[in-house]
Amino acid sequence: MAMAALRREGRRFATPLLSPRPISVFRPSLISEEDGPTGVRNISTQVVRNRMKSVRNIQKITKAMKMVAASKLRSIQTRAENSRGLWQPFTALLGDTPSIDVKKNVIVTISSDKGLCGGINSTSVKISKAVQKLTSGPEKETKFVILGEKAKAQLVRDSKKDIEIIITELQKNPLNYSQVSVLADDILKNVEFDALRIVFNKFQSVVSFLPTVATVLSPEVVERESESGGKIGDLDAYEIEGGETKGEILQNLAEFQFSCVMFNAVLENACSEQGARMSAMDNSSRNAGEMLDRLTLTYNRTRQASITTELIEIISGASALEG
């Protein structure tokens, strides 16, 4: 028995010099026990340590992404707020008629290209599908124009035949009015519409984004509505200056309105994207921090348990020697 104790003692000094063996795949538990070269138990903290390292890296990355989103948000927020005055004159003149009943509806869905921005893209797509349901009916058709990869991925699955134009990589260069007006021109030329419904997320604050639907009517519908005396009834009261016919002016007006509303919508959506990404990454780093705390506790427990086991073995070995 003394020989056995000595042998055990010898091993006690030997094992700390051995490097911990890699964990076998058949025992994926967090606290891993492995047999030393002569059957000694040695609880390894390697798994926990690896996990902590990866969670710490994730926390750093998400913190960095949050900083980047915050700085991008600052710059684009001022531009979005400055562009808010752009669509107001049009709504003051022509009114806002989202409940208008027309035959050809085109839904312009604005979304982001990159992910990791929370739920704003899914919200936009849900609202677009709901608007399609709302405006559908006999003899009515609803088409989609998609801006951004994320909405494309979701809408291509169900409504592939209804999609007219897909535009991606909008934010490759900083957003400016000329780019958006070219886009608007493109859409107006290639798509027939009676009413355009632009679905985007309006930036209210860093934590709140409101899904919004802005309606732009085609000049024919505007004429029809103003004659029938609906919401735009007092359009007739306005004198028209310039141009040959009222129709020509209304056409230019509708096109200009569309490009202005689009510009504001695209800026607001970009703002919402950065804000949503900021809060998503913030939550992520906070969760990573919490996970790290829990893992640290587990790590300390395993470490202390293995030290305690060693101590017990030494002491029992020593007491066995004496006794």
Partner: protein, 200 residues
């Protein structure tokens, strides 16, 4: 089932539309209740999206007598140059020529050509050179001027204007396709307007 429901709704909204909005005063921002109602019927689980009318800045009511000042909103895509500024008169470069707007002007929609916008307030006048745009003058003496680009006239460099004018005139004479001719013509128009803005 939903298609029929929306058809019925559309019919009822068409019938009640004139009645529902006959009392609508354009002064207060109203939320479109028919839209919200029809949304709730067809899509009960989701909150209806907001519409621009809920974000509108309140506009003054149509007054009974002619007000003393004109309220001007001059907006550009990247900034609101003047927002709800009370002035005496503005002169806008409409396609039919320079148009002076005083308080109590007839409601008008004017298309603008590249030219000078001058804002008269008391004794001082501010001049901006606008690229084209639109101007709306409402019955409540609010003028909305929307332009794509505007610079104060003193920021314009005369040498560059001359150079540009020469360049575009040359392009116009050497243009072959209709598109090139149109582009060159636009360039010539803008530069000659710039020229007259600097001199006039």
């Amino acid at each position: 089932m939903f298609r029929q429901a929306s058809r019925l709704l559309a019919r009822t909204t068409a019938l009640t539309r004139s009645r529902a909005f006959s009392s609508e005063v354009p002064a207060t921002p109203a939320v479109d209740s028919t839209f919200i109602d029809s949304w709730k019927k067809v899509i009960p689980n989701m909150e209806p999206p907001s519409t621009p009318s809920s974000f509108m800045v309140t506009r003054p009511q149509t007054p009974t007598s002619i007000p003393s000042k004109l309220t001007v909103n001059f907006v550009l895509p990247y900034a609101s140059e003047l927002s709800a500024k009370e002035v005496d008169m503005v002169i806008i470069p409409a396609t039919t020529g320079q148009m002076g707007v005083l308080p109590g002007h007839v409601p008008t929609i004017a298309e603008l050509k590249p030219g000078v916008l001058s804002v008269h307030e008391g004794n001082e006048t501010k001049k901006y050179f606008l690229s084209s745009g639109f101007a709306f003058i409402h019955a409540n003496s609010v003028a909305d001027i929307i332009a794509v680009e505007a610079v104060p006239v003193d920021h314009i460099d005369p040498n560059l204007v001359q150079k540009g004018l020469a360049e575009f005139t040359q392009k116009l004479s050497s243009a072959t396709t209709d598109l090139e001719k149109a582009e060159a013509q636009i360039g010539v128009d803008v530069h000659s307007a710039l020229n007259s803005a600097l001199t006039g």
